[in-house]
Each structure stands twice: as structure tokens, then as C-alpha cells.
């Protein structure tokens, strides 16, 4: 009944509440509901200051209006966020805009609409436990610096926890 009412209202207002519900279901995604569009997150956003299009307030507005196609895409501006957390410092509503952006990215990945390299980092951690690769040159250097050799990560543990085993 509640959700029926909501969908009637959302149709009238032209809002896409289905998308907002999807966002609510992802970790930290519900925070987008707190945004009252004050713009406090904008002025010190480095991605915003160095790009024509990036604006955390507008990303939040698109989330509120449910502009799913613009946000959930490999071409979306969300991929230009620097992850600096300045917006979280500024927001008076505890939206933590960066955390909403991460939630949007999580949806992109789940729906296979993220840039390719994003998945590669995840796959690398699941395959070897690390994001980088150990070279014989660095192994030798470690020895020269008197450092212990780097041991393999027990990746089967990671896979088991995540349910990839």
C-alpha cells in the first residue's frame, strides 16, 4: 500500500522512485535522501574546480530525481570524483556525498556499467590478494634493504568470505 501510494505520487511529480529505492538498498546509498541542495559541497570540490561538468550537488540532485541513465553509466561524471572526502567535511546534512557516489558506483559495477579498469582492480585482489605485482627486481631490492620477502596472500580465504569459492 505504502509503495503504491509512493509510485502514484512519483508519477505525478515525474520522479523515478524506483531508482531511489535501489540506491537506498546499497550500503550508504540512503544518505542521498538527506540532501537539501544547499551547495555547500561544491566550492572546495577539486574535481569540480578542475572540470566543466563535475558538481557534487548536481550529482545528488540527479539521484533525488532518479536520473538513472545519467548516473549509472561508464560515462557518468561520477567517475571523475577524486575520493578526497572534502564534500563530507562541508555537508551540513551528513549526506557524505562521496559515500553516495561510491554507492552509485557500486550499482554501476553490479549492472556491468562501470569502466573496465574498475573491475580489474577487484579481480586482481581476488586473484593475488594485492593490486600490484611483485617483480624480481623489487624482490631483490627488498633483500638489499634487509626486508623480509613478501609472502603470498591466502586468497582462498578472501574468496571463501565473499562467496566466490
Amino acid at each position: 500500500m505504502g509503495s503504491e501510494m509512493q509510485s502514484v505520487r512519483s508519477e505525478k511529480a515525474g520522479l523515478n522512485f524506483a531508482f531511489r529505492e535501489k540506491l537506498n538498498s546499497v550500503a550508504e546509498g540512503f544518505r542521498h535522501n538527506y540532501c537539501y541542495q544547499c551547495g555547500a559541497c561544491v566550492a572546495d570540490c577539486p574535481a569540480g574546480n578542475y572540470s566543466e561538468v563535475f558538481n557534487p550537488r548536481l550529482i545528488l540532485l540527479k539521484a533525488i530525481l532518479g536520473f538513472e541513465n545519467e548516473l549509472i553509466s561508464a560515462e557518468s561524471e561520477i567517475w571523475d570524483c577524486t575520493n578526497c572526502y572534502t564534500c563530507s567535511e562541508r555537508c551540513p546534512q551528513d549526506v557524505r556525498p562521496i559515500d553516495v557516489i561510491i554507492a552509485l558506483k557500486n550499482i554501476c559495477v553490479r549492472e556491468r556499467k562501470a569502466p573496465q579498469f574498475v573491475g580489474k582492480v577487484y579481480e586482481s585482489v581476488m586473484a593475488s590478494g594485492i593490486t600490484t605485482k611483485m617483480s624480481s627486481l623489487v624482490a631483490k631490492r627488498r633483500e638489499e634493504f634487509g626486508l623480509r620477502p613478501v609472502k603470498d596472500v591466502p586468497v582462498e580465504e578472501l574468496k571463501k568470505m565473499i562467496g566466490l569459492d
Binding site: 563535475f54 577524486t82 582492480v121 585482489v125 609472502k151
Partner: protein, 290 residues
């Protein structure tokens, strides 16, 4: 006092000279490092985090639980590891529902996250558990007159709700740590700007990094000092790549704070790998080794 170091992927597999510098320098100040086996990537606070937040919590919680077994606080030496491990540690402590959910995953490998230890960047531990005077006591070759342009990077300070290290808009921690070894910190207009590593449109990080480098040049600093291997990557090799791409000339040596600390304590520049940096440190070495 005992601590478990978490060096992370970048430092262990790409910049072992930084790990060497940390080990040599912090032990002189009085930290005893207790290594723990089996850590994975923290995991990465940008793309792994962007892939799946629940998996991010889970993999980080496994790392935290390994350290909890030994019982000492974690010291991190990379801003990325600091971001992930501090945030996950706090999120799971604050939200028992989330903790239970993550612990269901950990239980499959016989582990549990308890929330019994803290995670702090090594510079924070130096300041808070030992103090600036204690650092100065270990210095035998003060870096008098060495002008170091400070680069904070994002995750020592932000989110401040999680990090609780300093005022994120007017921090002093790195300046004070530099003064403690006799160097002169240079705070320039872009000291707090991030390196832009996470952006997908190249022009954004390119402009950010060049802006930072140009500000440092304008202040006539001897080098840039930072505390994160990922920022280092962006400014050391990054500086050369940008110079080529935009036909600019940059020659700013980039140094990791613990290298400077170790040298001030008497280490050779070679022992902390200054010769391995892409931007030549020859001129700087003359100055610091004097």
C-alpha cells in the same frame, strides 16, 4: 610501545625503500614493530571500494582481525591503507548490524572482527604517542634550512569524523614533524589539494598535479615531502610524464617523510633509497648529506 605495521601493496611491491625508511626511523623513536602474517591489500579505497562496499568491509575486516589476534594498534604508512582500515574499523564499531553482517563472512574462515584495536597513520602515532621532542632527540643531523613543500594528500585528515587527526582545513601535523627534524616546512597555496589519482578524465589530475608543482616551484622549495606511496607515484614519475605531455620543465625532488627522518637520524641516503627516485635527487643529496 608495540605496533603492527601495515605497509600495503604499493610500498611492499614498488617502493621498498619507503618500508626500509619507516622501519629504520620509527624504531629509533621507540616504536617496536610486531609484524603480522597474511595481510592482503587493505583493500583499495578507490576501485575495490567502488566495486562492492560490502566486500570492501569484509576484506578489510579480515586484515583488522589478523592484527586484533596479536593485540597491538596498526600503524599505516600509506594514505590509502589509512583511509580503508580506519574507516572500516570505525564503521563496524559504530554499526552493530553491519558488524554482524561482516562477521558472518569472516566466520566462514574462522575469524571475527572485534573492534579491539585502533588504526593510525605512523605520523599520527609519532606525534601523539611519542611527541615532537622525542623525535628531535633522535636527530643527529638536523636538516637545517632544507625547505620542504608539504603535501598532505587526502586521507591523513579526511574524513575528519573518522581520522580525528587535525583540523582538515588548517592542519599543522606535517609542518611540526618537519620542524622536529630541523627542516623548514613550506605551506603553499595548493598544499591541501589532492593528487587526483582517482579521476578517469586525465585532464583533471594533470591540471591538479601541475598546479601543485608550479606552486612549489614558485616557492623555491628544495623538495616536496609527503607521506603516501600513491601520491609519490603521481608526483615523481608523474612529474616526468606530465613534463613530456605538456612540454614543461619540472625538477622537483619528491621525498617520503620517513626518508628525511631516517637521514636526519644518521642513515645514509642509499640506505633509504634516495637514488631510486625518478626525479634526480643529486642536488638534494648534497644538501641533506652534508
Amino acid at each position: 610501545m608495540k605496533y603492527t605495521p601495515f605497509f600495503g601493496c604499493m610500498m611492499t611491491t614498488k617502493y621498498p625503500q619507503f618500508e626500509a625508511a619507516v622501519r629504520k626511523s620509527v624504531t629509533k623513536v621507540g616504536m617496536e614493530l610486531v609484524d603480522v602474517e597474511g595481510f592482503s591489500c587493505c583493500p583499495d579505497p578507490i576501485y575495490f571500494h567502488a566495486s562492492n562496499k560490502m566486500d570492501w568491509y569484509t576484506v578489510a575486516a579480515r586484515n583488522l582481525s589478523l592484527a586484533e589476534d596479536v593485540g597491538h594498534d596498526i600503524i599505516t604508512t600509506c594514505s590509502g591503507c589509512t583511509a580503508t582500515l580506519s574507516e572500516v574499523n570505525l564503521a563496524l564499531r559504530e554499526d552493530s548490524g553491519l558488524k554482524d553482517e561482516v562477521n558472518k563472512n569472516l566466520k566462514k574462515i574462522g575469524r571475527e572482527f572485534k573492534g579491539s584495536i585502533n588504526v593510525r597513520h605512523a605520523v599520527t602515532v609519532l606525534r601523539d604517542d611519542f611527541g615532537l621532542d622525542k623525535i628531535t632527540e633522535t636527530v643527529i643531523r638536523p636538516r637545517g634550512g632544507l625547505k620542504v613543500a608539504v603535501h598532505y594528500g587526502c586521507h591523513l585528515l579526511k574524513p575528519s569524523r573518522v581520522m580525528r587527526v587535525d583540523d582538515p582545513d588548517r592542519p599543522t601535523i606535517l609542518e611540526n614533524l618537519l620542524k622536529a627534524i630541523g627542516a623548514e616546512p613550506i605551506h603553499h597555496e595548493k598544499t591541501l589539494l589532492c593528487c587526483g589519482r582517482a579521476c578517469t578524465t586525465d585532464s583533471i589530475p594533470d591540471q591538479m598535479v601541475m598546479d601543485i608543482l608550479e606552486n612549489i616551484q614558485a616557492h623555491d622549495a628544495d623538495c616536496m615531502g609527503l607521506i603516501c606511496p600513491t601520491c609519490f607515484d603521481e608526483f615523481d614519475v608523474g612529474q616526468i610524464l606530465l613534463g613530456r605531455k605538456y612540454q614543461k620543465k619540472f625538477e622537483i625532488p619528491i621525498v617520503y617523510y620517513f626518508q628525511l627522518l631516517a637521514i636526519a637520524q644518521g642513515c645514509d641516503t642509499g640506505e633509504v633509497g634516495l637514488h631510486l627516485h625518478k626525479v634526480s635527487l643529486d642536488k638534494l643529496m648534497e644538501k641533506v648529506a652534508a
